[in-house]
Amino acid sequence: MEALKDKLESSFLVFENELNGEGEGPIHTRRREAFERFVKSGFPTKRDEEWKYTNLKPVLKPDFRVFVNDENTVDFSSIKRFFLNDVDTYKLVFIDGYYSSWLSETTHQGFDICTFSNMLTKYKDVAEQYFGKALPENEAMASVNTAFAREGAFIRIKRNVTVDKPVEIIFITTDHGVATLAQPRNLVVVEENAEITILERHQSLSEQPVLTNTATEIFALRDSRLNYYKIQNDAKTASLIDSTAVRQYRGSNVTMGTYSFGNKFIRNNLNFFLEEEHTESHMDGITVIDEGQTVDHHTLADHKVPNCYSDELYKGIYDANAHGVFNGKVMVHPHAQKTNAFQQNNNILLTDKASIDTKPQLEIFADDVQCSHGCTIGQLDEEAMFYLRSRGIPEKEAKALLLYAFANDGLRNVKIPALRKKLNRQIAKKLNVNLDFEL
């Protein structure tokens, strides 16, 4: 951990020297401040309350290369499977931290679906207004990302625009023969009464360890609507730390779906800040993991003002020695009356070696609210298994059918049929069955 910290410190100096006079601008000041916060706090350890169930040490251990300078070429056929394919989409594709115009399909007509670097140079006012303004300052990994933020997606949907098709953001890391650290950075601004759907995924094509430390800032302005889906299904040599912060303004409606099947290690820090009244926030998640995998979900619904609604549903299926964490915090501030906040976390452990640490954390300081939470940890219901088998459904299929049915709720807010299909297929694949219907 210390080795990586030292490396980041020297890399940051190199990075600053390359800036040619921009070093004193407001954006770089934010970077430097973020970096100083990180230098002071260091990487999170298990002594940190927010990290007590997961150990970051082995994740940070490889000798990561922080900047990739040699660009590998990737042809579409080798990454086709990561896209939705049977539906038309805008595409933002990044290879080793660089935007690939060849593989992408972007637009500036009526709205901006382009790159973070483009935003930094072309829309300085936007950068100043939003960069670093959504993420909480006390999260070390987000601060590291802020310090090094260079490239990623920039999506800005102008007032009253409903975007005609979903946007797919895909980050590819290729094989450079060494362990690689990737730090994508996304900014999404959905302006008043605008609407968009976004998909995000990170894929390693490398045999070497890849650590993706990604950060996404989302601003959902008045009456806007955003559906954001993350497919976390990377190679088992890859690890992912995702810091996402959503700031919601009056009447906006945001859905965040996090679907985790792959990777060796995943940590999601998902923070919703409800800044103005009458917002609606949905957080859904399905986690299906097995041998050697860890997925840690930390979520926050921060009800700062009255009359907001948040609903959270996370489902988890853990096989072999998989380890899951769910820490769902709901904060209702003293004057946030008439808050509706719901949270549900249900887990199935398929073996004795699988484990889940689940911690609902409700801090409610207002009295006229409706809040509920529930978490369950169970095994497969033997009686249900016998029932299905007695109807001729073999053991493996019966098990899968029950798990499918269990997880299915987590797809309730997936509005793109093609994505639903893809996720259903992925769940089936992970459960190692082929059922001839979709739930």
Binding site: Y387, L388, R389, S390, R391, E397, A398, A405, F437
Partner: protein, 251 residues
Amino acid sequence: MLKINNLQAGIEGKEILKGIDLEVKAGEVHAIMGPNGSGKSTLSSVIAGREDYEVSGGSIDFEGEDLLDLGADERAHKGIFLSFQYPVEIPGVTVTNFIKTAINESRKARGEEPMPANVMLKKMREKMALLEIDNAFLSRSLNEGFSGGEKKRNEIFQMAMLEPKLAILDETDSGLDIDALRIVANGVNKLKSKDNAVIVITHYQRLLDYIVPDYVHVLHKGKIVKSGDKSLAHELEAKGYDWLKEGAVEA
């Protein structure tokens, strides 16, 4: 069709069935009656292949094949069907998808092609009419929030769709009002043929007014203590089961 020979079985070391002999031929209806705890449900569970039970002796042959080595799903593929006393609620799986999967998995096991969707649909409509089941039923989650009557009707609907050779109805009458009982019994009777057989397990004689048995067996303390024709059921109804307690009965 079914030949049970000196069957002994129990759960968690406790012996419940202490030597059952029973033969069921195609075209027959057998009723198994007996007081609570006599082993009726254990017998049906053991025939259907519930894994919690251990068979310590005897055999079950079905059409010349030893059933005891087969899993519950394989027994279903051979044509055995158990209508559950307490059908399990399975949220998230619709009745349609469940039946579709059950039928096609059985067909797959027998080396047959999946049933074409239109054939399946037609068959479902037909059987639903038979059991006076509403269309909306199909898209509901399996047994979730169903009333007792709906659950039992759903069991017989599954039976109608799967067309088993041997159907075991485990206390299908319990919790049913007389109208529901009539519908269910009528459904069972319509499905009866010279090629299939039914075992009706019940505590009461009431159901047997509608599904008329060829044979009635009285189960007590894990043994069949008396067998006879349908008049035995009436006798039991009149006398109750207390006479069994005297212990002097022999089959």
